[in-house]
Amino acid sequence: MSTEFDARSHVAHMEKVMGLTIEEDWRPVVEAHIAAIEKAAALVQSFPLEEETEAAPVFEA
């Protein structure tokens, strides 16, 4: 995540992967939202977690 995130390319690729329909007038807003999510994810991703830090699943077998 060190390179500049290209929201337009990401949306164009993922809409095909996921089989989505995105009208052209929705597209800039969808791109803005994934860009905001990427920014948030980058902040979390840049935090050095110990490898033993695990998610806390609710699932119990």
């Binding site: 949306v11 929705w26 999510i37 994810a41 935090f47 830090t53 609710v58």
Partner: protein, 466 residues
């Protein structure tokens, strides 16, 4: 009690006492609530489904039971629920167009059952932001829910009707859901006491989900005592909610008057003192002064906590909605549609990192709660925004309004801590604003006691909007 106005001004505790004592009938209370809904709802748009006939039938049964000597802790107390709660015979809209094509619910949600069993009377379903992905109270399908204190402003969301119905005196108590702040935001904007309990405390069975790993349910009311009365009634083990923790019930109402003496309280600093308008900080300071609190504790990595909740919400919410957003995107509210579409495109690595960070942040907050019993923080960065506001500017940074109204609530629910949103009216203010009273996990009683003390001191209050 003479007229319906007097009845609608009563707290839940006062109603239950009067109905139990025979001074008032549940039927009179329900009729007063229905009259207030008729009077106020056309302007406020809090209710989407009024179940009048069922409410009157319930009231008659309660009157008979009380006359026969049955004791019910919530006898005759009218309440209403966000329309993502199942109500038997009513379609669970979850604020959407799509879900109203579903069959009516076959039974009530668990929490609705708990309250009805204890004598409360369900008045109907309440407006909400579509699929709970909202902080504004705006909804393109059912119309915007407006703030009873100023009809030109947002009620806050996504439990918008839950806030507006209580603030306008239609019901003394409502239930809402809170994934990232959706009880605390409308409590702040509408000037109410709102409780988001510990994650895993209350059953969510029979409610439409949003983000399973972050979804909470809880009550909103016009007094801290009512909040605790209802919270106690909502508790109980339910095998149908896989996330409900195996914890004993916590009796909070009997301790509500114990006050804040002896509790170690601090103001949350750092992140919680930035990106806030003056009224938000002034409200926290007023509460701190009233409690004699001067300590401030920095909450490390709160911005990352908020960011991680943001990522999890986008991906988990989009997963839940994937079939619908793939096949019927045009039937969504445009304000949620584009967020759900974006959420389908989130790499798994981002989500897993956010969930792992959640464990780290929980450990840090546990350490902080070894030093203090209560933290105080703003509930929202500002009082209710004018309806239709699309962007906000905080600390010189302009950002979209809808996702950012909850920037102070989101880091707290991220790790499931219990919070009471307590309403403050600053001197000369025309609008209320909430303060979060945050307690350690499983200690809702502490937050409720502090809120009650603030109410007793006159710093927090929740008047009906006139």
């Amino acid at each position: 009690m003479s007229g319906s106005t007097d009845i609608t001004a009563m707290t839940a505790a006062e109603i239950a006492k009067a109905v139990t004592g025979g001074g008032l009938s549940a039927t009179e209370v329900v009729k007063a609530s229905l009259a207030q809904i008729d009077k106020r709802n056309p302007a406020v748009n809090a209710f989407t489904d009024v179940t009048a006939d069922a409410a009157l039938a319930d009231a008659r049964k309660i009157d008979e039971a009380v006359a026969g000597g049955t004791r019910l802790p919530l006898a005759g107390v009218p309440f209403a629920v966000k329309n993502l709660f199942d109500i038997e015979g009513v379609v669970t809209r979850a604020g959407s167009k799509i879900n109203r094509g579903n069959a009516p619910a076959k039974s009530d949600a668990t929490l609705v059952q708990h309250l009805r069993r204890q004598g409360a009377v369900l008045m109907g379903g309440l407006n909400m932001g579509e699929y709970a992905y909202d902080f504004t109270g705006e909804n393109v399908h059912d119309g915007n829910c407006l703030n009873p204190h100023d009809l030109g402003r947002m009620s806050g969301g996504s439990s918008s009707g839950s806030g507006a119905a209580v603030a306008s005196g239609m019901v003394p108590v409502s239930l809402g859901s809170d994934t990232n702040g959706s009880i605390r935001v409308p409590s702040s904007f509408c000037g109410l006491f709102g409780l988001k309990p510990t994650y895993g405390r209350l059953s969510r069975h029979g409610t439409y989900p949003f983000v399973g790993s972050l979804d909470h349910l809880g009550p909103m009311a016009r007094s801290a005592a009512d909040l605790s009365l209802v919270f106690d009634a909502l508790q109980g083990a339910d095998p149908n909610d896989p996330a409900q923790a195996a914890r004993p019930a916590l009796a909070t109402h009997e301790k509500i008057g114990h006050g804040a003496d002896g509790l170690r309280i601090a103001v949350a600093g750092g992140y919680f003192r930035e990106k806030a308008e003056p009224e938000a900080l002034a409200a926290v300071d007023a509460v701190a002064r009233a409690l004699g609190v001067s300590a401030e504790i920095d909450i490390p990595e709160a911005a990352r906590a908020r960011a991680a909740a943001y990522v999890i919400t986008s991906a988990e919410g989009a997963n839940l909605h994937f079939d619908r957003i793939s096949l019927r995107p045009g039937d969504y509210d445009p304000d949620t549609r584009d967020r759900f579409l974006a959420g389908t495109m989130v790499p798994a690595v981002w989500v897993e990192q956010a969930q792992r960070f959640r464990s780290w942040f929980r450990e840090r907050m546990r350490k902080i709660f070894e030093e203090v019993d209560i933290l105080l923080a703003p509930a929202t960065p500002f009082s209710a925004l004018p309806s239709g506001t699309k962007t906000i500017t905080l600390d010189g940074v302009t950002m979209p309004a809808r996702p950012n109204i909850g920037l102070f609530t989101q880091p707290v629910s991220f790790i499931g801590l219990p919070v009471v949103a307590a309403p403050v009216w600053l001197e000369g203010a025309l609008l209320p604003i909430g303060v979060q009273v945050i307690a350690p996990a499983w200690r809702e009683d502490l937050a409720l006691r502090v809120a009650a003390e603030l109410e007793q001191a006159g710093v927090c209050r929740a008047p009906i909007a006139t």
